[in-house]
């Protein structure tokens, strides 16, 4: 197990900054997930931790030892690559034994460790095969086995499941978590899949343009996104963004669009009164909408009326596409509600589930 400290690390390629002043403390046994869109610098950061990429500025510590300029082999790190990176000319056994052989471990110890790891991953009957004789899932399992066989102090995963099909991805996700629970090694996992991030990470770091936008537990990030980007990136379907303005009526603040007006609850009133800007973005998760059957019985300020543009039945739920204040939105509703294209629909929103972002800085208010 290792503690990792990344201190103001930056990386530039020619004139492009891939990672900017990135700082993060990772505790022993944590499973950190770096998530963000393609090109946000998450893989570059991981490669810097591994020692595969030089650091332009800043320092990296593993167990309080500065490893910023140490060779990869000196860091006691194992990495699982996106395309498996198995040695094609070696059998599964030799692939798994390679790192132990490089560390000059006795032949008997190597055999024992490889056999134990192979048993753990269900690879025992594949040990004599070459990588080209394995399926994608088996290859990834061998890559995992190669990583865990020497019990490194830190695991790095670079989008290890992206080459697998959806069903296998779910299986392997559980398998990686299971291994993490058994070994409790510190792990850094890179993915662009927010679902993987939410389900696997003890802590998630959302990155964009080489910088951290928000770091926290999956629930924190889901429930209190620090800005509009994080709100939109985490969660599937993505959070709905509705553009509106602050409006004052009888000394009470409301959010208005051309289609509706919401009176803000008391705790928002003081906060938004001092705000200079009048333009806001309202974030509503698709699951925060609820179907209103009898409109007369509900508070009209929390209900919007709209027309169904598209119905996507998913079995356990249905996604309803509609337009509100010129924004295209999605609601996740009970599949038993009979809805079709063109139907009029009243949707309620729990005002406590709203996320309000400054339209200019895009930060959460």
């Amino acid at each position: 197990m290792a503690k990792v400290k990344i201190e103001k690390v930056s990386k530039s390629f020619d004139r492009t900054m891939a990672v900017q002043d990135f700082s993060l403390d990772i505790d022993e046994g944590e499973f950190i997930v770096l998530v963000g869109p393609s090109g946000c610098g998450k893989t570059t950061l991981l490669r810097m931790v591994a020692g595969l990429e030089t650091v332009t500025r800043g320092e990296i510590f593993i167990n309080d030892v500065c490893v910023t300029h140490a060779l990869p082999k000196k860091r006691d790190i194992a990495m699982v690559f996106q395309n498996y990176a198995l040695y094609p000319h070696m059998t599964v056994y030799k692939n798994m034994a390679f790192s132990l052989k490089m560390r000059r471990q006795p032949k008997k110890a190597i055999e024992e460790k490889v056999t134990r790891t192979a048993d753990m991953l269900g690879l025992s009957n594949l040990l004599k095969r070459h990588p080209h004789q394995l399926s994608g899932g088996q290859k990834q399992r061998v890559a995992l086995g190669r990583a865990i066989v020497r019990n490194p102090q830190l695991f790095l995963f670079d989008e290890p499941l992206s080459n697998l099909d959806a069903k296998l991805r779910v299986l392997m996700r559980a398998e990686i978590l299971d291994i993490h629970r058994q070994l409790n090694n510190t792990s850094i996992y890179v993915t662009h899949d927010q679902l993987e991030a939410m389900t696997m990470g003890t802590r998630i770091v959302v990155m964009k343009d080489g910088a951290i936008l928000q770091a926290g537990t999956p629930q924190d990030i889901y429930n209190r996104p620090a800005n509009k980007f994080v709100g939109g990136f985490i969660g599937s379907p993505a959070m709905n963004m509705i553009h509106g303005v602050i409006d004052e009526k009888n000394d009470t603040l409301c959010i208005s669009t051309q289609d509706f007006r919401f009176i803000l609850p008391d705790h928002w009133q003081d906060k938004l009164k001092t705000l200079k800007t009048r333009e806001l973005v309202l974030g509503v998760r698709p699951e925060s909408f609820y179907h209103v059957e009898n409109q007369t019985e509900t508070n009209q300020y929390h209900v919007v009326e709209t027309t169904v543009n598209l119905v996507e039945p998913l079995g356990s739920e249905q996604l309803i596409h509609f337009t509100l204040a010129d924004d295209r939105l999605v609601a996740k509703l009970d599949p038993r509600i009979p809805l079709k294209f063109g139907d009029r629909l009243a949707l309620g929103v729990n005002i406590e589930d709203l996320h309000i972002f400054d339209s200019k800085s895009e930060k959460r208010l």
Binding site: G51, L71, P72, K73, M79, N83, Y87, S99, M102, R146
Partner: protein, 274 residues
């Protein structure tokens, strides 16, 4: 339906006939050498050749009696083996570095330097080798061979090295391998097909090269092609021993290619696709 099958069979026949004709054009000179080598000296070189004859080994006996064949064979082996070994030692790391640093312009520079006809290089080499004491030495012949083998090998191996995924090397570094260790343990085995191709082609070229040894070797380091040339240099053409000597010179190449043909074919296809 029946007509279609007939047309297919006919077109297949035509295809094979064309193939046989092409193969015959290429094989004819070699077959002529084989026939001539096995005929009695007086019958050798007859036009039209006598296809039905009693084979004899007289021409081969004459080649060995002539003297010098074994020493020339030894010289050829030493020069070729040393050339191939040094070539791999220099070219493989060079090609790897060029491939990994994506410096293909260097390749053009190297190939550009090869555009001068070999014969123009011979005079300066002769002078330089004489002054350096390399004339009529194995090392001199090896160096002359390396001047074309190195660029050729680098050019051929580039595609093979570029096809090795960088992640595999990075995995080896993380597994505790040094850069040189990774090159030797991971990269070299993965480009084995290319290495065998280079060695096979290099063997063929260096074994048969005539121009450089003719000028740069003397009595001590005469190679087999120069030895064969000896049968032509006299006033009369001795077809029988000439063909026998040529056949004996060709045999090692045929054996080497046959042994490596599996990898050689793969290597040609692999390197060619780049």
């Amino acid at each position: 339906m029946h007509r279609q099958t007939l047309m297919q069979a006919l077109s297949k026949c035509f295809f094979y006939l064309v193939l046989i004709a092409i193969a015959f054009v290429f094989l004819f000179p070699f077959l002529w050498v084989v026939f001539t080598a096995l005929q009695f000296p007086e019958a050798a070189g007859q036009v039209p050749p006598d296809l039905f004859f009693t084979p004899t080994l007289d021409n081969f006996k004459q080649v060995f009696n002539e003297g010098g064949f074994v020493s020339c064979l030894w010289n050829s082996i030493v020069v070729v083996v040393l050339t191939l070994a040094l070539n791999l030692l220099i070219s493989l790391p060079s090609a790897y570095v060029i491939a990994r640093n994506r410096q293909r312009w260097m390749m053009f520079l190297i190939l550009f330097l090869q555009m001068a006809p070999w014969i123009t290089l011979l005079l300066p080499w002769y002078v330089i080798f004489k002054n350096l004491g390399l004339y009529d030495t194995h090392l001199g012949l090896v160096l002359s061979n390396l001047t074309f083998m190195i660029p050729f090998t680098i050019w051929l191996m580039l595609g093979f090295f570029e096809d090795v995924p960088v992640e595999v090397e990075e995995a080896a570094w993380l597994d505790g391998c040094s850069h040189i260790g990774t090159f030797l343990r991971i990269v070299v085995p993965l480009v084995r097909g290319g290495i065998i191709t280079v060695c096979t082609l290099g063997f063929m070229i260096c074994w048969n090269i005539f121009l450089f040894p003719l000028v740069l070797s003397g009595y001590k380091t005469k190679t087999l092609p120069v030895f064969v040339y000896g049968f032509l240099a006299d006033n009369q053409l001795d077809f029988g021993p000439l063909s026998a000597a040529a056949l004996l010179t060709t045999l090692p190449v045929i054996i080497f290619v046959l042994i490596n043909q599996k990898y050689f074919k793969k290597g040609i296809a692999f390197g060619g696709s780049k």
